[in-house]
């Protein structure tokens, strides 16, 4: 797909010096209920197209919706976890518009009577002055149904225009969604991109903690639309916003917000006006391109859904659900941080990488906290970023990471070999022990072959050998390196060094 564009951008420092950004984040969460929002069809991801459908979710004439009680319960729990008020009485509404992947040509959603409203979520962001908590206001959380999925076949772009034909899979149609909408997020200044990312990361953590969704961004079970606008100063009225869609990872949220800020700033700087529109984020090129223009006049002709009766959650039920909420992630994180004994900065790194759960699980599987953080925030985060994936979506489990670390601690692997093991696990070659066996990656622990390799290396570099004998212990690195190379990294570098110095009769005083 071509994403060429001539959009000018202003350098970020200049943007934040001259403009005040305001964010609005809309997050759609697919609930992990066993059945759909309004019918009994299963919700399992990845089934063959149009196999999880019935007259209701296909919108066949005569069919009627019936509300999934578990979805309502999940919506209330989400609302409570986001410090929202829960409506005593609310209704569904029809949002009318024609689109082929929407079976009824209206979406059953909620309009002016959301089930949860007026809450907040605190998110931590590392700033120049240290960790700072930003409070993101929650406007509302409401229930709705997902649409089907259209794929456009043929044509150059994969988009609807120019396609030869389109296929629609209705398996997703009717899967329960919760849409969580923030109030305008103001006062973030230059930290707007980080706040956006931290908000989604925290939200995801809460949702996972509630067990209401698998919140996988790349599978679309958590989708974020980022509204961004700029104004000359915090006192000025809100500027024209754009809504960026297709933001499918935490990293993309930060990048997309940042890009939109620089793009809009260039327009405003040139005396132009920002067009209110939907924009598409392109992960590969790191830019947004124009989608359809969206005006406030877009008329969905909302009206109360006459096929469903109002929902009136009893106060007793709501209080029962409140009492059974899991620990707030903010509190949970504070407890973890204290337990691990790490700094605010280090903890923020874990949180911002979306690594809290995987690190916690790796420690639970036996690794020490430093090692667990090292692997997830180092090698694995690098790979995840390369792949544009989330840490938890990498095909390696915390238990496997803990096993790799155990092998390192035992001396069976060194760091370099450990990275190869991880690479093998990610490539689907099996668990760490299987990869070690299959690739023959054990550290060479028998001194015989090592001594032979040392002798070879010393023979090849007599000048270096001389230097070491002369007391320049630092020069030993060259020989150790040569030995490691000769053993294809399977030696324990520390042991090689030990043997080398012994061989040369030099004591290690360096």
């Amino acid at each position: 797909m071509s994403t060429r564009t001539n959009d000018a951008v202003l350098p970020y420092d200049e943007v934040v010096a001259r403009f005040d950004p305001v964010l609005g984040l809309e997050v759609h969460v697919e609930l992990g209920t066993a059945t759909k929002m309004f019918c009994g069809c299963p919700t399992e991801f990845g089934a063959p197209p149009n196999t999880q459908v019935c007259p209701v979710c296909l919108g066949l004439p005569g069919s009627l919706p019936a509300v999934n009680e578990v979805a309502v319960e999940s919506a209330i729990r989400i609302g409570l976890a986001l410090n929202c008020s829960i409506a005593e009485w609310c209704r569904f509404a029809r949002k009318n518009y024609f689109y082929p992947d929407m079976p009824k040509n209206f979406q059953t959603s909620q309009y002016d009577e959301p089930i949860a409203f007026d809450g907040w979520l605190d998110v931590d962001v590392e700033t120049d002055e240290g960790m700072r908590t930003f409070r993101v206001g929650i406007e509302r959380a409401h229930m709705e149904e997902d649409t089907g999925k259209t794929s456009h076949q043929g044509g150059a772009t994969g988009r609807i225009h120019g396609a030869d034909y389109s296929l629609v899979d209705y398996n997703r149609a009717g899967i329960p969604l919760i849409e969580i909408v923030t109030k305008p997020v103001e006062g973030t200044g230059k930290y707007a991109p980080q706040v956006a990312k931290a908000y989604v990361a925290s939200l995801r953590e809460i949702l996972r903690g509630l067990g209401v969704s698998d919140v996988k961004m790349e599978q679309g079970s958590l989708r974020c639309d980022a509204n961004v606008s700029l104004r000359p100063s915090p006192d000025a009225p809100l500027g024209t916003r754009t809504e960026t869609k297709n933001v499918n990872s935490l990293r993309s949220i930060e990048r997309a917000v940042r890009y939109e800020m620089t793009r809009q700033a260039a327009i405003l700087d040139a005396g132009g006006r920002v067009t209110q529109e939907t924009r598409h984020w392109h992960e590969d090129t790191g830019i947004t391109t124009s989608g359809r223009e969206k005006s406030d006049a877009e008329d969905y002709r909302y009206f109360p859904e006459p096929d469903l009766v109002p929902i009136a959650p009893s106060r007793e039920w709501v209080e029962r659900l409140r009492a059974s909420l899991p620990e707030n992630p903010h509190v949970h994180r504070a407890r973890l941080q204290a337990g691990w004994g790490i700094s605010d900065f280090d903890m923020a790194s874990v949180v911002n990488a979306g690594a809290v759960e995987v690190v916690e699980a790796t420690i639970a599987a036996g690794a020490d906290q430093a090692a667990a953080r090292k692997w997830w925030l180092g090698e694995l985060l690098r790979i995840a970023n390369e792949r544009g994936a989330e840490l938890e979506d990498l095909p390696i489990t915390p238990v496997e990471v803990a096993r790799v670390e155990a092998l390192v601690a035992d001396g069976a692997l060194n760091d370099k070999l450990a990275r190869q093991v991880i690479e093998g696990v990610l490539a689907g070659e099996g668990d760490p022990d299987q990869v070690v066996a299959a690739r023959g990656l054990a550290v060479v622990s028998d001194d015989g072959p090592l001594l032979a390799a040392i002798d070879d290396a010393l023979g090849a570099q007599p000048d270096v050998a001389e230097k070491i004998r002369g007391g320049k212990v630092a020069a030993a690195g060259a020989i150790v390196g040569a030995v490691m190379k000769a053993t294809r990294g399977q030696a324990d570098a520390a042991r090689v060094r030990e043997l080398l110095l012994e061989r040369l009769g030099v004591s290690d005083q360096a």
Binding site: A66, N96, F106, Y302
Partner: protein, 498 residues
């Protein structure tokens, strides 16, 4: 036995149960009758002879095996073409659903099948139940068996005509603003709109979700009650279905005793605009009720005159959304996909332009407008307030009376084509029936005689509070018995031979 098509449903069921006749013989007699008269009446859009005979044979087998039969086992029935039946064409009287065979049974259909009712076929109707004459069917009008040049009412003209023409002793209709009751009135049959939520709407192709209700059509009050008992009751597939026991309508129809009951004549539903013969027969029936020991009082429902206007905002609004799914993408008609290189929007547009008739198009446009931003409060919002006022009118009136009565329709059957070009005149046919739909309360129409000036049937409407459907049957059956005494024979025996 004599002519099996002349039996009531109760008599038919008894004859099948006793072995006096078989369900297959009964089905054959009705299929023969349909073959003989329906080219002139055109009550049916689709006759499912094979399905009917198979269902009848199953009843006979069950009886032969000694299994208990349900009270309507083996009784033929005509199903309005707005309810789904697995594998049987369901068009709603529209081109846009031509050829669609639903993959599922409506709850009503499923309950009929489970009760051993023999479904003969699908009956004609105004397109998507929009109309009062059946002339808005895409498949041509149904003719009134009393006078083939006249309308059978609508939208359920096919169901009422099938019953009036002895093509079936029972039919299912649906009533959004009078589509069961007004056809019953103009064909000399009985029709009941149950309490909203009393009969599942699952599988009833929606016109206006908050108003639609399926109900029985028959030639006697008892038959309607028997059918009501089969199709009524809670259904988890319909969220608006009431989770309460169905009132014992059959017992009420058998009780037929109005002594001490307070019967309220609604002042606003009568007088000016009502045909003289309609008023005369209605007044006579009121006297008859008084003679039976009822206390007749006049009640006022001051907001009823606004019902029609509110109805024609609420109905089009809901219908504009309900009919959006007919777009040629997943089922039914698809038009113009090979002309030029059309976009999906163009194919949807062409399909809907070709598939919907004038009345459907008119109401979709009205509703789309009424729901538009900036107009919603003035139209839909205001209409909902009127709806609340009408509900309060009913509540106040039921303080003074146990049931309310009025003429069902202002006139007897008019001529085909007479009002086709005047939608407002057509809409006025439902002026007396619409309030009950807006309030969700039940109503029955039953024949109270022939208008002296044209010799055509006149219907009286009985209305009761929500979930007091049994009162309709009690009062209706009492009046029916008294009228039968007066006439000496059922009203339909006086209809001209077809």
């Amino acid at each position: 036995m004599g002519d099996l098509t002349r039996l009531t449903a109760a008599e038919t069921a008894a004859a099948v149960a006793s072995g006096e006749t078989s369900a297959v013989e009964v089905a054959r007699a009705h299929l023969d009758r349909i073959a003989a008269v329906d080219d002139r009446v055109h009550a049916f859009l689709h006759v499912d002879a094979d399905g009917a005979l198979a269902a009848a044979a199953a009843v006979d087998d069950a009886r032969a095996a000694g299994r208990a039969l349900s009270p309507l086992a083996g009784v033929p029935l005509a199903l309005k073409d707005v309810l789904t039946q697995t594998g049987v064409p369901t068009t709603c009287g529209s081109r846009i659903l031509e050829g669609w065979r639903p993959p599922y049974d409506a709850t009503v259909t499923a309950r009929l099948k489970a009760a051993g009712v023999v479904i003969l076929g699908k009956t004609n109707m105004d397109e998507f139940a929009m109309g009062s004459s059946t002339e808005h069917s895409a498949y041509g009008p149904t003719h009134n068996p009393w006078d083939l040049d006249r309308i059978p009412g609508g939208s359920g003209g096919g169901s009422a005509a099938a019953v009036a023409a002895f093509e079936a002793p029972l039919a299912i209709g649906t009533d959004t603003g009078g589509s069961i009751r007004q056809p019953a009135a103009v064909t000399g049959t009985v029709g009941v709109k149950p309490t909203y939520g009393g009969v599942s709407r699952y599988g009833l192709v929606a016109l206006a979700s908050s108003l639609d209700q399926a109900g029985p059509c028959s030639r006697t009050v008892l038959d309607a009650a028997l059918l009501h008992a089969v199709i009524g009751g809670h259904d988890p597939m319909d969220s608006t279905s009431l989770d309460v026991p169905v009132p014992d309508v059959v017992a009420a129809a058998r009780r037929a005793d109005v002594r001490g009951l307070r019967i309220g004549v609604v002042r606003e539903l009568g007088g000016e605009g009502y045909q003289a013969g309609v008023r005369q027969r209605f007044d006579e029936a009121v006297e008859l009720l008084t003679g039976l020991g009822a206390e007749v009082v006049e009640v006022s429902a001051p907001h009823f005159p606004y019902a029609l206007a509110a109805y024609y905002l609420i109905l089009p609004s809901e219908c504009s959304s309900n009919l959006a799914k007919f777009d040629g993408v997943r089922f039914g008609l698809r038009v113009g996909e090979d002309v030029g290189d059309p976009s999906i929007e163009q194919v949807m547009g062409r399909t809907r332009a070709a598939g919907f008739g004038a009345e459907a198009t008119r109401r979709i446009m009205l509703g789309t407008y009424a729901l538009s931003a900036g107009y919603y409060d003035a139209y839909y919002g205001q209409a909902q307030k009127v709806r609340t006022l009408i509900q309060r009118d009913f509540a106040a009136a039921f303080e003074q009376a146990d049931v309310l009565i009025s003429p069902t329709a202002p006139t007897t059957a008019f001529r085909l084509g007479e009002k086709l070009d005047d939608p407002l005149a057509m809409y006025l046919n439902d002026v007396a029936t619409i309030p009950a739909n807006l309030a969700g309360t039940p109503g029955m129409s039953l024949p109270v005689g022939l208008a002296p000036e044209d010799g055509l049937p006149v219907g009286m409407q009985i209305m009761a509070p929500a979930m007091a459907d049994d009162r309709l049957y009690n009062v209706g059956a009492a009046l029916e018995a008294a009228l039968l005494d007066t006439w000496g024979r059922p009203i339909l025996e006086g209809a001209p031979a077809l």
